[in-house]
Subunit: 390 residues, 2 copies
Amino acid sequence: MTTKTLHPAGANPGRSRSHNRQMVLGHVRRAGQIGRAEIARASGLSTQAVSNIIADLAGDGLLLEGERVSSGRGLPAVQYSLNPAGGYALGVEIRPDVLLVALLDLNGDTVFSRRTPLVDTRPEEVTAQILTLRKAALTHAGGDPARLMGAGIVMPGPFGTASAAQKGLELPEWSDIDANLWFTTALDLPVFVENDANAAAMAERNGGAGEGVSHYAYLYFGAGLGLGIVTNGQLMQGAFGNAGEIGHITVPSGNGAVVLEQAVSRLSLQAHLAENGIAAATSDALAQLYDASDPHLMGWLNQAAEPLTHAITTIENLCDPQTIILGGAMPDQILDHLIVACALSDRSVSNRDERELPRLMRGRSGRMSATQGAAALVLNHSFTPRLTPH
Amino acid sequence: MTTKTLHPAGANPGRSRSHNRQMVLGHVRRAGQIGRAEIARASGLSTQAVSNIIADLAGDGLLLEGERVSSGRGLPAVQYSLNPAGGYALGVEIRPDVLLVALLDLNGDTVFSRRTPLVDTRPEEVTAQILTLRKAALTHAGGDPARLMGAGIVMPGPFGTASAAQKGLELPEWSDIDANLWFTTALDLPVFVENDANAAAMAERNGGAGEGVSHYAYLYFGAGLGLGIVTNGQLMQGAFGNAGEIGHITVPSGNGAVVLEQAVSRLSLQAHLAENGIAAATSDALAQLYDASDPHLMGWLNQAAEPLTHAITTIENLCDPQTIILGGAMPDQILDHLIVACALSDRSVSNRDERELPRLMRGRSGRMSATQGAAALVLNHSFTPRLTPH
DNA sequence: TCGTTAACTCAAGTTAGTTGAATTATCAAG
DNA sequence: CTTGATAATTCAACTAACTTGAGTTAACGA
């Protein structure tokens, strides 16, 4: 996650081809099914060039040729679609106590997922476990190991050289390690390291609320509260990879200022319930409490709404997204409740007449969303042409 | 400022060349002086390719060939630098009562600047005045009109279809106009429309505090308070071009919540002074008050520090910048005072051990910073290769 | 049924990059 | 003060990848 200032690479025939291959894949993914001429029009290339590139991709097993489909006059266009088995992306989420792994195919469908306890969080041990799970995932899915395109890794931030006070809060053994370099070497794959909120935000691009949305923010309920900001279809990472630490901001509230994640987070909810003698470790337990209209849960929801509304307004004003998605380790009911409970201010720039999406939406919830998002980072990269800074 | 989802363009020989030309110009600009082999190494192109491109650019009058400069063994490299007269960028700032124009040369130096009153803000009138000023600017600077590369336009936001309540607050005649399209047609140039804060943020990239910084935020004191967020060297614009409306957020303060720009902005300062019978319309007047330690000004500074600190912390946590720059329509003294007065929290992710830049810096102040930034948008575009979405 | 339309292919042709050998100028070592 | 190593640069040949223009095929609609 060390972000050095990357200067752009020059374009030469090889890099142009690679760029164009990724671009074509991106068009196929967005469209689901598409013909060559349409890609040519969308990309500004000649149909001949697109034909050549598609022949390449089909030859490499990344595209499947479908039927001709007619649309009006003229020769019906041969449709191409992604070959799900053409590539796989590994998603790994490392938490202090548990290791989560998911394998997605080229379509973004989850073909394997596993949650295993983590007793030893030292890098060597974690890596060994990941290598084992990688093999299991590919075997289980029947995927060719050579078609594994990369791995996304979710780890608790903050990244980089944190201040002494913060260092090693969650995974002390990793605090001095360049995780990106470590995993690139250990897995021998392209690697993308992100925090949970950013990864979960990318998960929404695979058939989720963020599909086809170029600008959105994803408010992620993990242990604390995180934010993934997507601008022009790309994650905003910040200079040190720590953008989106929204849980740490202070917002006004009825009784003065509160730190957001002390009022709005799963931990804060569980602490509030514990104070009232209720243990609710799992999302199911929380869902049941909600369905039973538990007064303590409702009390927490009431006191959480105001700080959350302030946070939403802040995000809208700073980032001007098309929508803000709520997701993560909270039951759907509670997320939906929070969405309704936010009395959104008219003062925001987001309060505009014509909007295509609601200001708040519910995204994927559940424990695996960040893990799937980790894998989605790989897919997103493969479908996004960029004359790569090298 | 309508941001439609742009899909990337394919690469072909012509676009590759254009990309590479921009890339080379960018390297020359960053380095000031540089040899061909160094550009080749930095870009991953062959020296031969760079030689050809540089011959092109020099032939077009964009580069100047300098002396050979030796650095260690081997044939000393011929140095190239930008030809200031090789291109010009026009910056225009439209305010309800005044029109500001600046002309920058390829080096980013201001070769002309003018402030004229604006009595009629109807689009036709404003445009006519701009056309006149463009001619005057080029004549004055001795610049070839054909070398005008584009125009940056600063207008009050919010852009897009704002809600009825907000519509037309500042320039009602423009509320239904697509300013980008309008000026592209009227000026027959590439046009970049931004709000004042974003433009001012880009101005810092020309020999200012933002030069060479890939991630920073720029807090702009205009009428209200705006924020320009630069990520990976590019402005974050948001879905509708309204990102950075930080003045509208509410932050905690001693006596409850305040809307940020009601506590921290030039207007708020002037209102506070007016309540105490002091008129201070100009920056000079404010500077004098500050130098005289005027108690009312000091009182305002005291009450502004806390909300500002909250805002800074929010920006740090959401955007994770290398630094935050304060600038705009405030005297240097007052900006410096505010920088010192912000008691920055240790809770921010920005509180890290190793940082190269201070968390807060003072940028350019004064009336023309947004106007110069408008022109800088053009330069930045010319130096940033991007297989342009078309 | 026949002309129009549009996707697609084939076979040059073009652009812009790469490669490798030759040239030149500086530094450093003997 | 030569001499060899080093590095920038050019020249000429080569190559990759896109474009162009002339067919070919298949669907629609008058």
